[in-house]
């Protein structure tokens, strides 16, 4: 999480954490935090009318948690880019592993950069989000 990490980082290094048992309360908390009040994420009656078994999590909730991989690993201020592609939905009860792997380490303008591959994968082995990030030391 400090810039020292950039001197020892190498291809294949990993960082991961798991969040177990996502709840509707997690979705409601993100609705408040992130301002996404689409009823498909919190209203069971609405979800059933749309033909779904229940509400599902906001993609940007899963994306926000995945963004903690580069942020907690290298420091939020050192993240140069963070991107995601949505693959499948997050459902209540899911356990999700959030993981980053160093794909490439290189110098750009004399500064060490690292490209990371990121994934959010549920306990059924399905990929919810595929992500990518570039990190480099930044100072104010």
């Amino acid at each position: 999480m400090s810039t020292d990490l950039f001197t020892s980082i190498k291809e294949g290094d990993e960082f991961a954490f798991t969040k177990k048992d996502f709840t509707r309360t997690d979705f409601a908390r993100y609705a408040g935090g992130g301002g996404d009040f689409n009823p498909i994420h919190h209203d069971q009656t609405f979800a059933e009318k749309a033909g779904l078994p229940t509400v599902f999590g906001m993609g940007m909730l899963t994306a926000g948690i995945l963004s903690r991989v580069p942020a907690e690993w290298f420091g939020a201020q050192n993240v140069k880019s963070f991107g995601i592609r949505f693959k499948t939905r997050l459902w209540p009860g899911d356990d999700v592993e959030f993981k980053g792997v160093v794909k490439k380490v290189y110098e750009e303008d004399g500064v060490t950069h690292a490209d990371l591959d990121l994934t959010a994968i549920n306990d059924k082995g399905e990929m919810l989000i595929q992500g990518f990030s570039t990190v480099r030391p930044w100072s104010a």
Binding site: G35, R68, Q77, G83
Partner: protein, 148 residues
């Protein structure tokens, strides 16, 4: 709902605290100005996807991409999002979103006929006109209802 005035998005520590907790960010950099200063930062840092929340703070007369592009809400998927940071976003500044270009590509999809992909770009500048970050948002309109 009422619009915020003057326009622009004040980056407030209370809202950062709430947003950070909603995605499980426990790092003091998001919650404690003293900790942020001790880490050599000018102030509390906004989480990386924080500007996704501020998309909901835009005025009600802001351009509505879905409407402007004539898209059918029933067949829209949020394909993805990319954030490019010039530097972190800090509590105490005000960000103003400037809508950039939208690029359309058409692709043959596997699940619902042909897909139209819309990549739209937004620049976030602060109150001094300094570019802080750029965001690319991808919307996908499918040819029909997508089955998972």
């Amino acid at each position: 709902m009422a619009d915020i005035n003057p326009p622009g998005m004040p980056i407030e520590r209370g809202k950062i605290h709430e947003f950070a907790n909603s995605i499980g960010c426990d790092d003091p950099l998001y919650h404690d100005a003293e900790a942020a200063k001790a880490a050599g930062l000018p102030g509390i840092v906004a989480p990386l996807t924080y500007t996704a929340a501020t998309a909901f703070f835009q005025p009600s007369d802001a351009p509505n991409l879905i409407k402007d592009l004539g898209l059918d809400m029933r067949f829209i998927l949020h394909g993805g999002q990319e954030f490019f940071y010039e530097r972190p976003v800090f509590a105490g500044e005000t960000l103003i979103a400037e809508q950039g270009e939208t690029v359309k590509t058409v692709k043959e999809g596997k699940r619902g006929g042909s897909m139209q992909i819309f990549d739209s770009f937004t620049n976030y500048k602060n109150q001094d006109g300094e570019l802080v970050l750029r965001v690319k948002n991808t919307l996908i309109q499918t040819g029909g209802v997508v089955k998972e």
